[in-house]
């Protein structure tokens, strides 16, 4: 029976091995869950936009795809002009507002009639649409995570709104307020941030886009598909988001590095005699180096497997506890997390391994 020194060494210290493997697993979980959360958010956002059911999105010059910092606005009257264009069946002006009360999200101020025409309406799970200026509707996920029920009151734009209905999610935003109220509260009467446009038929989309471009120079006019993918890639490339992800990945890498470094560093001290024994048997520097590097890599591999498993468990758990959070675990990021773990483990294991390889055999054998 063949026995591997590397495996035997790893098994000889089960607690130390477990702790190290868990630390590497945490590194992987940290990367996968944080990346998975941001990607889930972005994709969920994209899906919700698609769910609006519009064919074309029109934005005034200088607006961002994210709509989050949208200061640009266009006159609501543009809608009338659009409605007269050949191939356009309906137009819905929307005022988008960034809401930072109790989490970050977008609020839509809509004109209920035109929005219903473009999107074929809401499916209400409870209650009805808003009618009064200080009423609102929210989707089921928002209602669930904020524990909101029909008849209750919530704060938006520093005002209280009464929930009149809870609708099935997937209609662009989770929260809808009356357009007039949003315009008043933001001091921009008669202005909107975008228009959703519905065409007579899907074949009409390209010619309508062309006609709109001719009429409205400088405006951003995109078929819904393009708009959605632009929003997604713009969110993915947000500088703040990149910084955040890079910071998380960096911290995770450092955690993995130190986990392996400490484990291997203490291991060489603990195994000084054994290094001397290997050398007395004629083991070269490379052989000793390989023994320790392989051990780091074995710990890393175990940590990676554990990390991926824990990430799936984490995704499941998050889904139960916070249903509004979407986690997307992608294979390409599992590979990336694996490479990052590999990098931190190799770097963490290298110095101890080099030290081990350089040990003087006689000194090592005399070590108590």
């Amino acid at each position: 029976m063949r026995q591997s020194l590397v495996v035997a060494n790893v098994l000889a210290r089960p607690m130390r091995t477990l702790a190290t493997v868990l630390a590497i697993a945490m590194e992987v979980v940290l990367i996968l869950l944080v990346v998975g959360l941001t990607r889930g958010m972005v994709n969920e956002n994209a899906k919700r936009l698609e769910g609006v059911g519009a064919d074309i999105v029109l934005q005034p010059p200088g607006s961002s795809f994210l709509l989050a910092s949208s200061t640009a606005a266009m006159p609501e009257k543009v809608a009338e002009l659009l409605a007269g264009i050949e191939g356009v069946s309906s137009v819905s002006p929307v005022m988008v507002q960034l809401n930072v009360q109790g989490g970050v999200g977008l609020i839509y101020g809509i004109d209920l009639d035109s929005f219903t025409r473009v999107t074929r309406g809401f499916t209400f799970l409870q209650g009805r649409a808003f009618q009064a200026p200080y009423e609102m509707i929210v989707d089921d996920i928002h209602a669930n995570s904020k524990k909101l029920q029909v008849g209750q009151v919530a704060e938006f734009l520093n005002h209280s709104f009464r929930v009149t209905g809870i609708f099935e999610h997937g209609k662009g935003s989770r929260v809808f307020l009356p357009l007039r109220t949003v315009q008043e509260l933001t001091g921009t009467p008669g202005k909107v941030s975008l228009m959703f446009i519905k065409c007579d038929s899907p074949e009409e989309i390209p010619p309508v886009v062309a006609r709109l471009k001719e009429k409205l120079k400088g405006y951003t006019i995109l078929p819904m598909n393009d708009f959605v993918s632009q929003v997604s890639s713009a969110s993915n490339n947000l500088v703040a988001l990149r910084y955040f992800l890079n910071t998380v990945i960096f911290i995770a890498t450092v955690v993995g590095f130190f986990a392996i470094f400490l484990a291997m560093y203490t291991a060489i001290t603990e195994r000084t005699r054994e290094i001397g024994i290997l050398k007395a048997l004629g083991a070269s520097k490379q052989f000793v180096l390989a023994v320790f590097v392989k051990e780091s890599l074995l710990l890393c591999a175990a940590g990676l497997i554990g990390g991926v498993a824990l990430s799936f468990a984490g995704k499941w758990l998050l889904g139960r506890v916070l249903p509004s959070l979407q986690v997307e675990l992608s294979t390409d990021w599992m590979v990336k997390a694996g490479l990052i773990a590999l990098l931190s483990s190799s770097l963490g294991g290298l110095y101890p391994a080099l030290r081990a390889a350089r040990q003087d055999p006689v000194d090592a054998l005399a070590y108590e």
């Binding site: 026995q3 020194l5 000889a12």
Partner: protein, 239 residues
């Protein structure tokens, strides 16, 4: 018979800060293939230092060591390691088995280091049998007695058929019975397989097992020698 080992005016100075300890002050020794040399001498006289240098574990401050035709004292660390791997088997007082491996694993790793790990192991079985270890293959060092551990260590030292077996007080930690056993095994290896052996020992009985006795004092070989079986005084050059 050819010379299996030759040491010429080997000196070793240890530096501890500013203090210099002359552990070997010019040792010369010549050994023929198939000899079993015992080295005795008081503690601190330089026996272990000499053995480490002869086996290429340490470098002499000056002088020459030639093992089986290869000069090892002036070559680079990596070359000395390589010669050690191919030509030398070490046995120590403290057994020095790898604690996480079984007896079989300890033999296996020696073969792997030698570059023989994948070859058939009929030779391994032979050695295990000779040393009475067939039943201990799956045992870890912590599950074996000192005598058993030392026998595994001897098996490991000879598994790759080294030119010379170097043993540093191999019976130093053993009781009389196990000492007997280990010594008779070394003798058996020497007689049956013609294994060349150098053994350091304090034990007078152990010293008589070999066929030549070398005495050391203060980093030198004492210039009188009892050649137990051959009476070949000229084999040792005194300086």
């Amino acid at each position: 018979m050819k010379n299996i080992l030759e040491a010429l005016d080997v000196k070793k100075v240890y530096k501890i800060g500013r203090i210099e300890v002359a552990a070997l002050q010019g040792v010369s020794i010549r050994m023929r293939e198939g000899e079993f040399v015992s080295i005795t001498g008081p503690s601190g006289c330089g026996k272990s230092t000499l053995l480490h240098i002869l086996g290429g574990l340490a470098k002499p401050s000056s002088g020459q060591v030639i093992i089986d035709g290869e000069e090892i004292s002036s070559v680079k660390d990596s070359a000395r390691t390589d010669i050690r791997r191919r030509k030398i088997g070490f046995v120590f007082q403290r057994y020095n088995l790898l604690p996480t491996l079984t007896a079989g694993g300890n033999l296996q790793i020696a073969r792997e280091i030698f570059g023989n790990g994948d070859r058939d192991d009929s030779h391994v079985q032979e050695v295990l049998k000779l040393l009475g270890l067939e039943k201990k293959v799956q045992h870890k060092p912590s599950e074996m007695s000192g005598g058993e551990q030392q026998r595994v260590a001897i098996a490991r030292a000879v598994i790759n058929k080294p030119a010379i077996l170097l043993a540093d007080e191999p019976t130093g930690n053993l009781d009389t019975e196990n000492s007997h056993l280990v010594l008779s095994m070394l003798q058996e290896l020497n007689r049956t397989f013609g294994q060349s052996i150098i053994m350091i020992t304090h034990n007078p009985e152990a010293a008589s097992v070999g066929n030549r006795l070398v005495e050391m004092r203060d980093g030198r070989i004492v210039p009188h020698e009892r050649d137990v079986s051959f009476n070949r005084r000229e084999d040792t050059i005194y300086i």
